[in-house]
């Protein structure tokens, strides 16, 4: 035992004392492993980030109830400016005992507001005058971190004295909802599992690639050790020791990088996701796993890499020829994965239980791992049978043939990520389509709904005209409402508007009236609107069927034309309007106009897609993760290419000496990267679409192929290859410098 540890220690000693090459190798391994560790530690912090975010959201959720006279009046007044969503609430405390939202040191008075630091910054930016005018309140302070979900969140609390007059009840009695139940449905659970697998496995591949950097020099050193009497096991342990030093240094480096970059996380926002630095805390158990597994993974990668190398006292030989890869065991993972997932067919809710989740996760993981296991076999077999072609292509193909599978392994990470992303995109796309169909609001694309307070029926007409006059607005359908807060739903609309929102209104003249809810309203019935205000359902009122659009957005049960309303001396107090903005035009002028009419106007976009927050958040996380994965894979490829150039540093100057063009070698590098990547992407598309289709079938979603997303994902993978090749070219040209002949 002591001897074995001594050999490990000797390997670590060699990594330091084995000359510049060994130190460079240890250094690069440390850098590579360090980057991987940093990413993994970041990943281990994700559960805490998600929990902290939802805890912050929960803590500021208002609890409504019987306030006993000291509640808080609460009106959501979200807005949007230059594409930034701004969460806003207008509040009016009953007295000093009213519950205060977290993050507020005091209540803003009427005409004052307390804003998040990010909103304060936005308001100070040039060109934010319109937003300032729209919010119509002076900033008196900032919301503390406790009241925000992220440091870049745009949010404000505005004080008002008008909420009581508008009928907003003082019924917020406290803040802090009970921890929200896990709202994830089967499809979302599958999405989460896939994302974690898709994001973490490439990091593992990167760690393995980095830990094998400079293996050729190491092998030569081991041959020298064999010559002086080290046996095979001893050389393996010495090699493991060499890798271990780099991995341990990488572990420390990764930890330091994580700690150094943690404060920066508060300043960046990827795909709309921002987190407080304080929330980026690794889960201790997972972090411990990283500390143990990363060095183990690095050592394992070294030993696996040495399987094809025979270190003999007189030199090193590679078992490249004759030991072709076997397909059978490589099929085990994907086939098993598909079989496991197939057991959920017709039983989508089976994935809801813990056991079901684990089982489905295992199925997805196995299928995705299948991309990594099958790709080296595919690359080897295709390359072996590939015909000869132009010189750069020939050099690339021959290099790939003599390769020990590095290309397949590195590209396997891309394949895995792409397959995962394709399956995810299909699920997202299908989930959104299904949601869209269930809402039946496809016709409402690009429409904004405005609800504002007006003083009179004439005021309502003037308000509609003001909205129509806003820049970019092409159409406004407006309905004036009588005492909307009463819930009586009596509205005033012109015949033209009634024609827009109803099906077959027939002949309509000013003075007519219509009932949209024949079941509960009868002609002659008296409707109590508010104290002292009553409306009678006029005799001769006709029944009217609203269009889907009308029914979705206008809640009036009795529709009066202006003359009919005037006969009963009914004055409008509210306005609900639907406005279409010209495609491509900004919605800001419309929002500004609405704010001018009523600072508390509710302006919201009617979206044609499902706005399930969790789905949207997951998609954002996916994009953020995909970005990190692409960087990781690019780094793996770059390390691999650099390693290859280093191995060929004595050959390339010779090729240059007898006149090989640089472009020939650059094309050879591109071919060398492109062939395995093309095969990897083809395999990823095949397995990814199959996996996506199976998952959609399991969760009873319609099977659809999102070809544009597939094309985008494939293009991203290809872009990484081109970028890596471009980054390698300067290194290639330096290595090709014929002056390198001198070093021999």
């Amino acid at each position: 035992m002591r001897g074995r540890l001594g050999q490990l220690g000797f390997g670590m000693h060699l990594a330091v004392s084995g000359g510049t090459s060994a130190r460079l190798r240890a250094g690069l391994t440390a850098v590579g492993v360090g980057l991987g560790v940093m990413l993994l530690l970041g990943a281990t912090a994700v559960p805490h980030i998600v929990d902290a975010r939802s805890a912050r959201e929960d803590a500021r959720t208002p609890v409504f109830g019987d306030s006993g006279g000291n509640g808080l009046r609460w009106l959501a007044t979200d807005t949007e400016f230059h594409g930034h969503e701004i969460g806003g609430v207008t509040i009016q405390p009953s007295d000093a005992r009213s519950p205060r939202p977290p993050g507020l040191a005091r209540f803003p008075g009427p005409g004052q507001m307390i804003v998040s630091p990010a909103l304060a910054q936005l308001l100070r930016a040039p060109g934010a005058v319109e937003l300032e005018r729209r919010l119509d309140a002076s900033v008196i302070g900032t919301i503390a971190d406790a009241g925000l979900t992220g440091p870049r969140e745009l949010r404000f609390y505005r004080g008002s004295s008008q909420l009581a007059a508008r009928g907003v009840l003082a019924d917020v009695v406290a803040f802090g909802a009970a921890h929200s139940q896990d709202p994830t449905v089967p499809v979302l659970k599958l999405l989460i599992v896939m994302m974690i697998v898709g994001l973490l496995l490439p990091v593992g591949v990167f760690v393995a690639t980095a830990s094998r950097f400079g293996s050729e020099d190491r092998d030569r050193r081991l041959a020298a050790l064999r010559l002086v009497g080290a046996d095979r096991l001893a050389t393996a342990r010495i090699a493991a020791g060499e890798s271990l030093l780099g991995a341990l240094a990488g572990l420390i480096l990764g930890g330091l990088l994580f700690l150094a970059l943690r404060p920066v996380t508060g300043h960046i926002s990827i795909a709309g996701i921002d987190v407080f630095s304080a929330d980026v805390q690794p889960v201790p158990a997972l972090a411990a796993l990283v500390v143990v597994l990363v060095p183990a993974c690095a050592v394992l990668a070294t030993l696996i890499g040495m399987r094809r190398v025979v270190v003999e006292p007189l030199g090193v030989t590679r078992r490249g020829e004759g030991s072709s890869r076997k397909l059978a065991w490589r099929l085990i993972a994907p086939v098993l994965g598909f079989l496991i997932l197939a057991t959920f067919l017709g039983n989508g809710h089976g994935v809801e239980s813990t056991a079901g989740q684990l089982e489905s996760a295992a199925g997805v993981v196995l299928v995705l791992i299948g991309v990594s296991t099958l790709l080296p076999w595919l690359v080897e077999n295709v390359v072996r049978r590939a015909p000869d072609g132009p010189l750069p292509y020939l050099l690339a193909i021959r290099r790939l043939r003599s390769d020990d599978g590095t290309a397949g392994r590195v590209v396997g990470a891309i394949g895995l990520a792409v397959a995962g992303a394709i399956a995810l995109q299909m699920l997202f796309s299908s989930a959104q389509t299904a949601g869209q169909n269930s809402l039946r609001v496809g016709a409402l694309s690009g429409i904004t709904q405005i609800t504002a307070q007006v003083r009179s029926s004439d005021g309502a007409a003037a308000a509609a005209a003001r909205l129509r006059a806003a820049a970019g607005v092409v159409q406004v359908i407006a309905v004036a409402e009588i005492s909307p807060a009463s819930g009586a739903f009596v509205a005033v609309a012109s015949c033209a508007t009634i024609a827009e929102i109803s099906e077959a209104a027939g002949r309509c003249r000013n003075g007519d009236s219509f009932i949209t809810d024949g079941a509960s309203l009868r002609a002659g019935a008296l409707i109590k609107m508010a104290p002292g205000i009553r409306a009678r359902v006029p005799g001769g009122s006709r029944e009217l069927t609203l269009t889907a659009l009308g029914a979705e957005l206008f809640t009036a049960r009795l529709l009066l034309t202006p003359a009919a309303a005037a006969r009963q001396h009914l004055e409008a107090t509210g306005l609900t309007a639907l406005a279409s903005v010209r495609p491509g035009a900004s919605g800001d002028p419309l929002r500004d106009a609405a704010a001018e009419l009523d600072p508390l106007a509710d302006v919201s976009e009617v979206l044609p897609v499902v706005t399930d927050n969790l789905l949207v958040t997951l998609r954002h996380i996916l994009f953020a993760g995909a970005f990190v994965v692409l960087l990781t894979i690019g780094a793996s490829l770059l390390v691999s290419a650099a390693e290859q150039l280093r191995e060929r540093r004595s050959l390339l100057p010779v090729l240059a000496a007898f006149g090989t063009r640089r472009s020939t070698m650059a094309w050879a590098m591109l071919w060398q990267a492109a062939v395995p990547v093309a095969l990897g992407l083809a395999l990823a598309i095949a397995l990814g679409t199959a996996l996506g289709a199976l998952l959609m079938k399991i969760v009873s979603l319609p099977i659809s192929f999102d070809w544009s997303a597939i094309a985008l994902t494939v293009a991203s993978g290809a872009a990484v290859i081109v970028a890596v090749t471009a980054a390698t070219v300067p290194m290639l040209w330096r290595t090709m410098d014929p002056r390198g002949l001198r070093e021999e």
Partner: protein
């Protein structure tokens, strides 16, 4: 006779004076603070075999690299066919090396993943020859150098002597005007070294190629028509 430079002549028939195909005039080259060449000159005539001799570190390989356009001298000039090589751009010098020069290095330096015949065909394909034509010529050269039996093997599967003969075939396949050989037998035993030198020099004479042969072995230099000795970066007596 000058101790640094001497010309070996055929005893019965003195070598005729031939015009220089390649000339190095007062070439100097430094690498950082080290002067590898200080004042080196040499001429190589058409079809001549010239041995560049000297102890290790004397600058003979640097002189060969300058003469071949691989390195640009700091001062002095290198003329090939009367034109200065140093003034040519990288692309033109690469083309010159591809078409007019051939190279043999100490360890063969074959592309490990290509077969021997593909290695020999490589310079032809770099010059734009078709695959079939390049292969045909490569096979013919392998036969001339008596290694056609290893044509479809990769370098890792052949002996050092065979690999070096393949490298000689690769240097001669384009029928260059000058072959630069840097310690071509340095990694071979004497028997294989002799055979490689016999084949290199006889093939070069057949094609009329001049050979610049860098060596520190008198046995190898004996194959040359003439010797130039480099010492401390100079070619004294030139």
């Amino acid at each position: 006779m000058n101790p640094a430079t001497h010309t070996r002549t055929q005893p019965a028939e003195p070598a005729p004076v031939r015009p220089a195909l390649l000339s190095c005039r007062n070439v100097a080259k430094r690498f950082g603070g080290t002067a590898a060449l200080r004042d080196a000159s040499m001429d190589v005539a058409v079809g001549e075999i010239l041995a560049v001799m000297g102890p290790s570190g004397s600058g003979k390989s640097t002189l060969l690299h300058c003469a071949a356009g691989i390195l640009t001298p700091d001062s002095g000039e290198v003329l090939f066919d009367g034109s200065s090589i140093a003034s040519l751009g990288d692309a033109r010098r690469s083309e010159l090396r591809r078409t007019a020069f051939g190279f043999v290095f100490q360890f063969g330096r074959l592309v490990p993943e290509l077969t021997c015949v593909e290695n020999v065909a490589l310079p032809l394909r770099l010059s734009g020859a078709g695959r079939r034509d390049a292969t045909r010529q490569a096979v013919s050269w392998l036969a001339r150098l008596e290694v056609d039996d290893v044509a479809v093997k990769i370098p890792g599967q052949v002996s050092g002597g065979q690999a070096q003969r393949v490298a000689v075939a690769r240097a001669l396949v384009t029928e260059p005007r000058v072959v630069f050989a840097d310690e071509p037998t340095g990694a071979l035993d004497s028997l294989n070294g002799e055979r490689v030198m016999q084949l290199l020099t006889s093939s070069a004479r057949e094609t009329g190629a001049a050979v610049v042969l860098v060596t520190h072995e008198a046995r190898v230099a004996a194959y040359a028509d003439r010797e130039v000795v480099v010492r401390d970066g100079c070619t004294p007596g030139r």
